[in-house]
């Protein structure tokens, strides 16, 4: 076996950090799902709210991207 304990911790940490992206997936799914549920009830109002939906997606996704960043930092910067 080659490598050392610090590298092992780094890789395990990076792997664990990517789990946060699952949360982003759940968040984006909730936003779009609820948007669709509302849009099908009142299709006339849907067009005006797509910008709000994209905003919601962006905010939900940002926190997942943070964990992706942590993974990248662990892999390449630590």
């Amino acid at each position: 076996m080659e490598g050392n304990i610090a590298d092992m911790g780094k890789f395990i940490g990076a792997g664990l950090a990517t789990m946060g992206l699952g949360g982003a997936g759940i968040g984006v799914g909730l936003v779009v799902g609820n948007f669709l549920a509302g849009a099908l009830r009142n299709p006339a109002a849907a067009a005006g709210q797509t910008a709000t939906m994209f905003l919601g997606i962006a905010f939900a996704e940002a926190l997942g991207i943070f964990s992706f960043l942590i993974a990248l930092l662990l892999m390449f910067a630590v």
Binding site: A51, F54, L55, A58, E61, A62, I65, F68, L72
Partner: protein
């Protein structure tokens, strides 16, 4: 794709993000060195100029195809700015349009095989986001003076809660440039790395003589490429709309 000593293809998903000098080898010497990143930014600027200047040259009443693309982009961003910022947002439309179209073209040019995605680097997106962040602060204080600080003092909340909310608001205000830049860079980087990993899988399958199994992943690869085009457009849109929202805070700080 790189090939190892035994002839097997090597998957190097992060290699495509390497910044290097365009002329001559070695490291990036100073910030004046012309790198592949610089080259593709220039290509983006040239493509934008070609679309907007050459495309609009005719100014025909019935637009040609190029002219209508330019017009659609223009009116799309204009209506977005007007919706969010209102009438006094007109002043900031050129800025937001510039940001949008530069990011859109950088993202889309990054999808050209063998090209370099400038927006996949946090250094590039952080400058764009910091410019927005600083202009929000400057515009806010210029327009409202100390009244801009009302942004952090939520007057609709109960008095006891306001200091706590103020703390949260301040933190979320200063996290903005971080999330603003990393959202774009992270999306582009992750997307391109995924494309490269899938391409590497296909190459490995074909190399090991299992080419028949590669048909399904190839279809998936095409689908992911299409998704990447969607992400390229949506991320440019999201960056622009968030710029609008942040500028709206500067123009109308009271909740």
């Amino acid at each position: 794709m790189a090939v190892s000593e035994s002839g097997a293809p090597v998957i190097d998903p992060m290699g495509q993000f390497t910044v290097g000098p365009l002329f001559g080898g070695g490291d990036v010497g100073s910030f004046l060195t012309i790198t592949n990143s610089t080259l593709w930014m220039f290509v983006a600027i040239l493509a934008i100029s070609a679309l907007l200047i050459a495309g609009m040259r005719g100014r025909a009443l019935v637009p040609t195809r190029t002219q209508s693309v330019a017009e659609i982009l223009y009116t799309f961003i204009r209506s977005m700015v007007m919706d969010i910022l209102g009438e006094d947002g007109k002043t900031y439309f050129p800025y937001i349009f510039t940001i949008f179209i530069f990011i859109l073209f950088s993202n889309l040019l990054g999808m050209v095989p063998g090209s370099f995605t400038t927006t996949s680097h946090i250094a590039v997106t952080a400058i764009l986001a910091l410019a927005v962040f600083i202009s929000v602060i400057v515009i806010g204080f210029m327009k409202h003076g100390a009244g801009f600080l009302k942004l952090f003092w939520v007057e609709s909340a109960p008095l006891a809660l306001r200091p706590v909310l103020a703390l949260i608001e301040v933190i979320s205000f200063f996290v903005r440039p971080l999330s603003h830049s990393i959202r774009l860079a992270g999306n582009m980087m992750a997307g391109h790395a995924v494309l490269k990993v899938f391409a590497g899988l296909l190459a490995l399958l074909i190399y090991s003589g299992l080419g028949i199994l590669a048909i399904l992943p190839l279809g998936l690869m095409v689908a992911i490429t299409a998704l990447e085009f969607l992400v390229a457009c949506v991320q440019a849109y999201i960056f622009a709309i968030l710029t609008c929202i942040y500028l709206n805070d500067a123009l109308h700080p009271s909740h």
